[in-house]
């Protein structure tokens, strides 16, 4: 079992440019069933040995794709997400960084009641080591099949956590980057809720960072709804207030959204918080020695 993806997942690539093609090759190399690409105006062609379509609608009809990964540049990214949702794609993973916030606000509202799940934007995507499903840009060689779910707002910090886990011989069930933007699709809580239900997941590593209150909300969810152990790390304890730290959403504003505040909320909910980014896997092992 896994979350958000399964053995029937068929991936479509929206935006088969240079980056799209690079990651398509890597996903295919890993063993992910990528079935086609969409680049308006390039329909009928091929890339990475896959058919290219002019629209998601056509691609779904021809390939049966049920998931998509969006590499479309910022001006068209919001449109691409809605196109996928309209075409009935169940899982939409938006990698694109620097999508205007207003576009994401509209996308989120337009997707109310939609059966599609959006992950991202500005994220590394989803990787499931046992299914060999990679929808995004994560470096697959560091992953190892196992029982720990990973959910994070940051890309490289996800890799850091996965690297630490794998080094301790602890494998991962599904790893999800939810993205570093202030308005995104899937939240920590969505992931936690699914990890709780997932038979393959025994414990969860949650990696947050400064800005917003998603970690606080997640803490409350873990306290009231979860039985599986969750450990956390919050990046940005030393970040100066009022400064955007790389991610559009990573900002302490008006004294709110600090790492200390989040840490306190998590600890109050009984979630062990790694004292240092070097101790994410150690903290998980302490909380769940049986995790493999």
């Amino acid at each position: 079992m896994s979350i958000f993806v399964d053995a029937d997942t068929r991936v479509l690539v929206q935006g088969m440019g240079r980056t799209g093609q690079l990651h398509t090759s890597l996903s295919l190399e890993f063993g992910t069933p990528v079935v086609g690409g969409v680049t308006p105006g390039k329909g009928g062609g091929q890339a990475c040995g896959l058919p290219i379509f002019d629209s998601v609608r056509d691609a779904v009809r021809e390939t049966g794709a049920n998931a998509s990964v969006v590499f479309v540049p910022p001006p068209g990214a919001g449109d691409a997400i809605l196109e996928a949702a309209e075409a009935g794609i169940g899982l939409i993973v938006a990698i694109t960084e620097h999508v205007p916030v207003r576009d994401m606000v509209r996308v989120r509202h337009a997707m109310r009641g939609s059966a599609s799940r959006l992950i991202g934007p500005n994220c590394p995507g989803v990787l499931d080591p046992s299914l060999k499903v990679r929808i995004g840009i994560a470096p697959y060689p560091i992953f190892k099949p196992g029982t720990v779910g990973v959910v994070s707002r940051s890309g490289t910090l996800t890799y850091e956590a996965v690297g630490q886990l794998s080094a301790l011989d602890i494998g991962q069930s599904t790893c999800i980057g939810i993205g570093g933007d202030p308005v995104n699709g899937t939240s920590f809580i969505d992931c936690l809720e699914n990890f709780e239900k997932d038979d393959a997941t025994r414990a969860v590593v949650m990696i947050g960072e400064i800005g917003g209150s998603a970690e606080e909300e997640a803490a409350e969810f873990v306290r009231s709804e979860m039985t599986k152990p969750v450990v956390a790390f919050i990046a940005g304890a030393t970040a100066p207030p009022g400064k955007r730290m790389g991610h559009a959403g990573a900002i302490v504003s008006g004294g709110r959204g600090t790492a200390a505040e989040k840490r306190e909320a998590l600890e109050k909910a009984g979630i062990p918080v790694a004292a240092s980014p070097a101790l994410m896997a150690e903290t998980l092992r302490e909380a769940c020695p049986e995790a493999r």
Partner: protein
């Protein structure tokens, strides 16, 4: 991206919002003629990107053109230190001379994206002229909130109810509804990330912004060349601006350990771990997903341009970024730039082994580290030695 008050007010005027007449002045002479043109008592306001100007002496009344000229003389060229500028303050280069307003009441009004609901949030309070965070802390019941569904837009009744809650008279409220509608239009059309009006004043039947802070979503500037033009490079950290040109994400900090990292989360975590090891980071730097030799070299130059820097920590977790490529970049850059301070490099992930071999065989004085913790400890030890 932030803009100046005078620019914000011009935009408000474009959107049909009534603001007091005012003019920009760069010299005492210009301030004098602005005051003369406006007539009566004026307010001379320092144009810097920082709040708290009033208390810091950056906003002064002038009763005549001569007084305006004198105030301008005093203010121009001074470094204004407000609670938001830091100790070094901000150089005053421009002034905004504005008609003094009769103030009956001071309110607070702001629009922003509510991250929780993904709506446009409106925050208002009868406690204008104060920092809203302080109001929220001391008297949370005085914070009024309104949510605008972006697919529906602002409903008139919502604006009207808010005006009633703010204690406005019917006449004032009619103007307030109009004002909020215009502000919402500006917010959406120009991709604002925040509109903050503090204070919003009432003066008889009128409701008018006395100060206005506008900030815009950087990611949306591509579709607003008119807004992008309002950027004032003088107000920005020159190293942040330079980093931006090379596609690097940079924030200057006070410490002495320069950092070069790939990914924003890992870059923040690297700052944190340096601090836990007893050191202080000099900067936040995310070199991004394509850390090639050229970028690495630009990054080194930026870090070394800070005289405070006594050591550099490179922390790369290779994903799509290949560690051997980064290693080559480091070697090339270190040779070109001439890194004269201790350099600790941690490479992990894709092709890390190859990368370490390249660094080891380079003949350069580079201290390798196996993981983040070791890297932080090594650089802190080297800097304190």
């Amino acid at each position: 991206m932030n803009i100046h008050e005078y620019q914000a007010k011009a935009l408000l005027r474009d959107y049909g919002v009534e603001v007091p007449p005012g003019r920009l002045a760069g010299t005492p002479g210009e301030a004098s003629s602005a005051a003369e043109g406006i007539g009566g008592t004026v307010v001379v306001k320092a144009q810097v990107h920082a709040g708290g100007r009033g208390k810091a002496g950056g906003i002064k009344l002038a009763r005549s053109a001569a007084e305006a000229a004198q105030t301008a003389e005093d203010m121009l060229g001074m470094r204004l230190v407000t609670k938001q500028t830091g100790a070094e303050g901000k150089l005053v280069r421009k002034l905004y001379v504005e008609e003094a307003s009769q103030i009956d009441d001071e309110l607070y009004l702001a629009l922003l994206v509510d991250r929780g609901t993904r709506n446009i949030g409106v925050i208002a309070s009868v406690e204008g002229g104060m920092e809203i965070e302080e109001v929220a802390e001391a008297t949370p019941e005085k914070i009024l909130q309104l949510q605008i569904d972006p697919l529906v837009g602002l409903c008139e009744f919502q604006a009207r109810d808010l005006g009633i809650d703010l204690g406005l008279t019917s006449r004032q409220n009619a103007r307030f509804v109009e004002l909020l509608r215009n502000l919402y239009r500006l917010f959406m059309e120009k991709d604002c990330s925040m509109i903050e009006i503090n204070p919003l004043i009432t003066s008889g039947d009128r409701v008018m912004p006395l100060d206005c802070k506008l900030s815009f979503d950087e990611a949306a500037l591509f579709r607003h060349p008119d807004i992008a033009e309002l950027r004032d490079p003088e107000e920005e950290d020159p190293r942040e601006a330079e980093a931006d040109r090379y596609g690097l994400s940079w924030v200057s900090l006070d410490g002495n350990i320069g950092c070069m990292v790939n990914g924003a989360g890992l870059a923040m975590a690297t700052m944190d771990i340096i601090q836990y090891a007893g050191g202080t980071p000099a900067n936040f730097l995310d070199v991004g997903g394509t850390a090639d030799a050229e970028r690495v070299s630009h990054a080194f130059r930026l870090i070394l341009a800070d005289p405070q820097v006594k050591g550099i920590l490179v922390n790369i977790f290779g994903g799509i970024v290949l560690c051997d490529m980064v290693a080559e970049g480091i070697v090339q850059a270190a040779r070109e730039v001439g890194v004269t301070v201790p350099l600790v490099v941690r490479l992990d992930g894709t092709n890390a082994e190859k990368g370490r071999e390249i660094l080891g065989g380079s003949g350069l004085d580079i201290t390798p580290a196996a993981n983040m913790k070791e890297a932080a400890e090594k650089i802190v030890a080297a800097v304190s030695a």
